[in-house]
């Protein structure tokens, strides 16, 4: 029996102050091998995980933000970011790093993995899952 379930990883916490963002990413990378239908949600402080220009040399902690750009290679291509969460933090999509994947169904065209959605859309995405893992 081969089951494909919809997995949603919900990211609501900022990076570096706590380990949740990093350990969430570790689950996503391992989980990719299971060939499920994977989505990532970034809302509230979770949107801070994707900001560009992160440089952790001054705090002695590993910078894991480049790893998000590798997600496409693992066929993790749906990163939903909530517009209202950006707005409340004075951020725009331009403050986020660019993350792309190559679409094998479209002659390997490069497409954006980051999909900015509004709150109602985010709620609908959450309501459409089989398994929700929260970090």
């Amino acid at each position: 029996m081969s089951v494909t379930k919809k997995f949603l990883y919900v990211n609501r916490k900022a990076p570096y102050g706590t380990i949740y963002a990093l350990e969430s990413l570790e689950v996503v990378l391992i989980g990719a091998a299971f060939e499920q239908d994977v989505s990532l949600a970034f809302l509230d402080d979770g949107v801070f995980q994707l900001t560009k220009g992160q440089d952790t040399k001054g705090i002695g902690v590993k910078n894991f933000s480049p790893t998000f750009r590798a997600l496409g290679d693992y066929e993790v291509t749906k990163l939903y970011i909530e517009q209202e969460s950006l707005d409340e933090r004075g951020l725009t999509k331009d403050d986020l790093q660019e993350i792309v994947y190559e679409d094998e169904d479209d002659d390997w065209a490069e497409k954006p993995s980051i999909r900015v959605v509004n709150r109602a859309e985010m709620a609908a995405i959450m309501a459409d899952q089989d398994v929700v893992l929260s970090f």
Binding site: E23, V27, I30, G31, F34, L133
Partner: protein, 130 residues
Amino acid sequence: MKIGVVISEGPYTHQAADSAYNFVKSAIAKGHEVPRVFFYHDGVNVSTRLSVPPQDERNIQINWTTLAKEHDIDLVVCIAAAQRRGLLDENEAKRQGKDANNIADGFRISGLGQLIEMGIQTDRLVTFGD
């Protein structure tokens, strides 16, 4: 129903491991199956057998070990999270050249794949964390 449980915070510091314990006891008493509990983040700290809580407090590790034995629950401690935080079983201690180990009876160390597998194979997944 098959219910999978994730515990993602440490014992005593956060209530997560206590809430999960009460939840799992009720679920089993009501006839559901809890095939696996997965310990992640600081949740791995539940598995140490070196804990010595005050005599008038509950012993969270022993509670879990006992419940797991009675009802055949697979207590899985995430290896990556455990290594960072200093939780090792005998094999891991040898492999890492450490002179001691601290994982309690009834817990086993394994990979994050066990979490995903639990999500696939159970009907519901409930997370207790911070």
